[in-house]
Symmetry: C3
Subunit: 506 residues, 3 copies
């Protein structure tokens, strides 16, 4: 009888994860916890039970590094060859991660006098077991997102005039320097903050009669993709593998990308949701498996999500590799579609501050659209190679003629949106030339983006060109491309800019 | 063998609700129905089978009040001490609810000559078993939402100019008094209608060869939160516990709050969905349990939904209370963030018509932002107490330093958005002062909000200040706060107001 | 023991589909495949494994037509009386569909020299087993969506000025003829393309060392509802029954309708999601059954989705028919709410190019709102009949008084939105009359919609009137109707048009 009931349980349990594709697991304490981690949990299961529960639901709580290394290469989720010291035979718990490389961490502190730990676990720490992922990520624009924004005078100027508190004095708007708090909730919410440790401070946990000494950290809390960490490393794994569940299911869920890639400036999620791929996903996703490694199109899912095309390791059911895993998010892409007035070949490296346009701007294209020729962007051959590889992914479900037709259409749309940005630019240049708007000879950044017509120009490319290109790239989002943030907005914007110039002249 | 199969069934059934977190149940008729309810259902299972199915899926259809009272106090879903007359040993069916307090109900009628029932079941009726919930709700701003809008001259004026049909005559826009139908589909869709019974009328049910006499009700159908009911009570339980399933799962689902708390004026749902909490919810929600009482963070869910922070009874896995249940929706909050130009301390009572600002407006702040000092808002000590309690909820998953950092950031953002509202106000005052716009000396409400620049001022606080404060309060929605309805819109709006003033003067 | 385990398996399997309501099936090859289809799959499981997996998950892969015909009439998913030649005893595989009516298909080609197939399977092909569905669809506005847009001079003009690339020359905007690629990503993304075959071309499948000869097709890929197919037929079944899973679950999922019926011009999905029906759906949908035929309200679902009111066959639990299945999407509707300035009775036929207004425009209403009286619209009696039938659907869950109240409210709102369109029209006529805007005496279509104030007029009805009517029709979406795209936008738009006229005159 026992064996029968056991078989029953196995059947039920085996059936459920298949249906739910879930990371959810029991909340039992793992046997193979380190003594140090056991100590952490003995307090934290009362103090922050949500974190502990999150961790108990994670793969980290039920796998030792030694076991992880026993997996077949393609199924392996660690990229190290050997387990870090002392971590081979214990599950990956609190202490295993929060104690790493303490000497490099400005946020290392003595926790209640008996344990030295870091507040923030960084990509450099995760690299103990995941070195390839960290190395790839380090090359990505995401890792460099803080500097790419804050060290580029044009972007910095745009960010500052947007987020600085304004006052109205003597009929004029005056913009103050943005505060760190507002930067953290806007630009740096996605780009990441620069973390600084000011010293040690006392905190009094709610509901406990104690005082704890903890590092006093500036720019925290933050999970932006390009966070500058207290050990000097760049990036944040928790942006996508959130909190203590470190879930691949979450990283593969489009809602995760949608934390930052949203209307109106980067409407990737809305475009995806509107299109056929998103439609199939929305209908069937609860039946799919978002945790398998490698990931098998057809078997595990039947329409791509973001990670399918941009990141994940995929094989056929027979184990043939379709695409290798990458955490360098732009590395499968040949053309850069968003965030800038004109499209251009992808930068060679994630640090884009080195790029200079022909007309001397710190941008990948000139004001009239020509891509930089300073060797910082990938060449035509590399563009072709990447597009070909991407076609290989599409070809899992689409015929060659279908795929070729799709990319030819996208190429045409990229050109048309560049032409439409140029039209808006010509109008702005006309307004500047006629003294209708004032750019200070492009010498005083404070005079850029401060007038309504200059802001309309920015919306032209930042909102509308982006939205249309995304719709094209993701095989279609007709309402987005036509009315919501697309061609209708182009028309409205240009007509309104024209009226505005007329009214200013009168 | 039988026992084995029984065990199998138990295992399967036990497993499924855990996976689905579902209220869904069989559609079998309960044994313990009252005779009266059995009568209702004998016709209505043919006439309105959807309602009957909805009820059969509910807890009301499978629980007697006597059984409900046997639960441990923390697990109890009723707050009465004793079952109402005749209801102890039957499930809570049609007649049990629709026959209550008939003498007070203007909508009480004789249904086919043999049963006196009410059309509308009100909070006063639900209070038969749920008196605490009704009492709490009665103190909330939600319960007073009808009067707070319709009896406040400023809000009423704003509502009227928005929803009145306009005509264009002799080059001028003329606004008619709004119709009840349009009020019901806009403001009163959320705020609730004032229900009035005009008499009795005949109706002919589709597909049946009968005529029925039923009350002729004005302002119906409506499920707004502050509905004035035909028994004089205020509110509508069905706003959140919709229709006849009376589901706690639905009340805890963010989509329920999103019926009213949406872009552009109250973008709570969009902010939640964009942020990390919403991201975790979207990824894992099908694995969570939304019906357990008490609700245990970590065990039942791993990221907060709206109800977690605002309403639900929560305990640790060991039964320690983290937060008590409340149906007074503002009672955990210290600062009021939305719906008004400036933030201010929460009102002491849900009826906000009693509040007067320093400058004599029926608003909680003066036109230049100072909170009312007439004793109608909570004091600093109460604000501190509530913020501390909220920190206790956050602390289930976040460290003290993290939580303190979050709230310090929010405090700063609330101040900045108030400053940004003031800047827009200064510009409007300048336009009024210079005769560019006409406010009739603030004496004729018909001259408020009727000009484009006045409407831009309203958008400044009603859309943008709200959206930024929500993004801050809910730990981040960077696209919302930066571009969608945030700081970019502030800049665009002020620049456009400035141009408009210039064009008017020319 | 075996029997016990079998029972266990049955229980588990029986339980899961009920919970998931899923089409998902095993990925095992069906036994009853035709030899031809077996040939297709032997290559395509390597070449396009996603398509094969999609098909394996479909009902087509596990049902022969003979078996499908054995179903009780109401449960039948085929409407043919007899199986097409050779298809009775095999599952419906690649060759069964792609080989049909080859002589009529301009896209018929010899695939690798041994099999003649068509690239595109059309409604005329699907009609082999589903003739009623095709016939109904053929009468719908969806089937005629290409011609209704492209052969109507007013709509065509609007589409062209929106989607044509613009240049700025000598202070003027110049609009080029739109490209086919941009048309495909905007208007024709939903309306469908006109497919043309130019000949045969070579393609080189990614990852394979071969060259294949395939038809060179213009206007492809496309899944618009009114696609003109290479066999001359109109429409695309894959718009809603996407790709190779041919899923009824997908066709019934609101996300499917949301591919085209989205903000800002057709905000059906957003209105649905915001309303009570959408709220219940979002909360409980994973517990519902979206595949049963016939579909039983209460048993299979507890709130309507799009298909409930517009398309699906529904019966009571006792098998009484509530509504018959239709693929003529407008045939249950009495009034046409969207896409045009004013509401009007539904057209009698899906081809709307035959309609002429009183003032001679190719529109169903005059510029001032009077419906066409040329006999192309349904009459009052037919309108009444359809509204009565719709009430029958609502009555599954709502009382007669409730339903009557809802439709009276909707009738009033339709009239008010027509009045609001007229107000905006009066303003535009005034602007034209005063020479503030130029319509070229309505003789040169190039002068329509090219000025900002004309575009504001278009937004008035295309965005705001539509959104408010949808909100009303779907029982309420108060934020949409009040602020997002509703009465607030009406007010803002009219006030801004008024200012614009003033600034132009100065």
């Amino acid at each position: 009888m026992k064996r029968i009931l056991y078989a029953v349980a196995v059947l039920c349990v085996a059936a459920l994860p298949a249906a739910a594709g879930s990371d959810q697991q029991t909340q039992q304490m793992p046997e193979k916890m380190s003594e140090k981690t056991r100590g952490c949990i003995s307090c934290h299961r009362r103090y922050t039970p949500g974190i502990v529960a999150d961790w108990l639901a994670s793969r980290h709580a039920r796998t030792t590094v030694a076991d992880a290394l026993k997996q077949e290469p393609l199924a392996r989720r660690v990229s190290t060859g050997t387990a870090p010291d002392g971590m081979a035979d214990v599950v990956v718990g609190c202490y295993e991660c929060h104690s790493l490389n303490g000497g490099k961490h400005a946020d290392n502190f003595n926790h209640f006098g008996n344990t030295k730990i870091n507040v923030i676990v960084t990509p450099a720490d995760c690299a103990s077991c995941h070195p390839e992922e960290r190395e790839q990520y380090g090359r990505s624009k995401k890792a460099h997102a803080y500097g790419n924004l804050m060290a580029n005078p044009v972007y910095h100027r745009l960010a500052d005039i947007i987020t600085g508190v304004k006052d109205y004095k003597d009929g004029k708007l005056v913009t103050a320097e943005p505060t760190l708090t507002t930067r953290m909730e806007t630009c740096l919410g996605c780009h990441g903050t620069k973390i600084e440790v000011r010293g040690i401070k006392d905190v009094e946990p709610a509901g406990f009669q104690i005082t704890a000494k903890v590092p006093d950290i500036v720019g925290w809390p933050n999970q932006g993709v390009g966070r500058i960490n207290p050990d000097g490393s760049m990036g944040s794994c928790t942006t996508c593998h959130a909190r203590h569940s470190f879930s691949i299911k979450m990283a593969r869920d489009p809602h995760t990308c949608a934390q930052c890639h949203l209307e109106p400036d980067v409407p990737a999620y809305e475009v995806y949701e509107e299109g056929k791929h998103g439609n199939i996903w929305a209908t069937f996703k609860t039946d799919w498996n978002f945790t398998n490694v490698p990931w098998v199109p057809g078997r595990d899912f039947r329409a791509p999500v973001c990670a399918t095309c941009h990141n994940s390791l995929m094989t056929t059911a027979d184990g043939e590799v379709i695409a290798r895993r990458t955490h360098d998010f732009g590395s499968r892409l040949w053309v850069r579609l968003f965030g800038l007035p004109y499209s251009h070949p992808q930068p060679k490296h994630g640090d884009t501050t080195v790029i200079k346009s022909k007309d001397g701007l710190p941008l990948p294209t000139a004001l009239t659209g020509e891509p930089a020729t300073d060797g910082t962007l990938i060449d035509v051959a590399e563009q072709a190679r990447r597009q070909k590889d991407m076609k290989g992914i599409c070809s899992m479900c689409h015929s060659t003629a279908w795929v070729n037709g799709h990319f030819a259409k996208m190429d045409a749309t990229v050109k048309e949106t560049d032409a439409m940005t140029l039209t808006s630019t010509k109008m702005l240049l006309d307004a500047w030339g006629k003294g209708i708007a004032d750019n200070g000879g492009l010498k005083d950044p404070a005079l850029l983006f401060d007038e309504a017509i200059e802001q309309q120009w920015a919306e032209h490319w930042l909102f509308y060109s982006n939205a249309i290109r995304y719709s094209s790239a993701m095989t279609g989002a007709p309402d987005m491309a036509a009315f919501k943030l697309g061609w209708w907005r182009y028309l409205r914007n240009l007509s309104d800019m024209q009226d505005r110039m007329k009214f200013h002249k009168k």
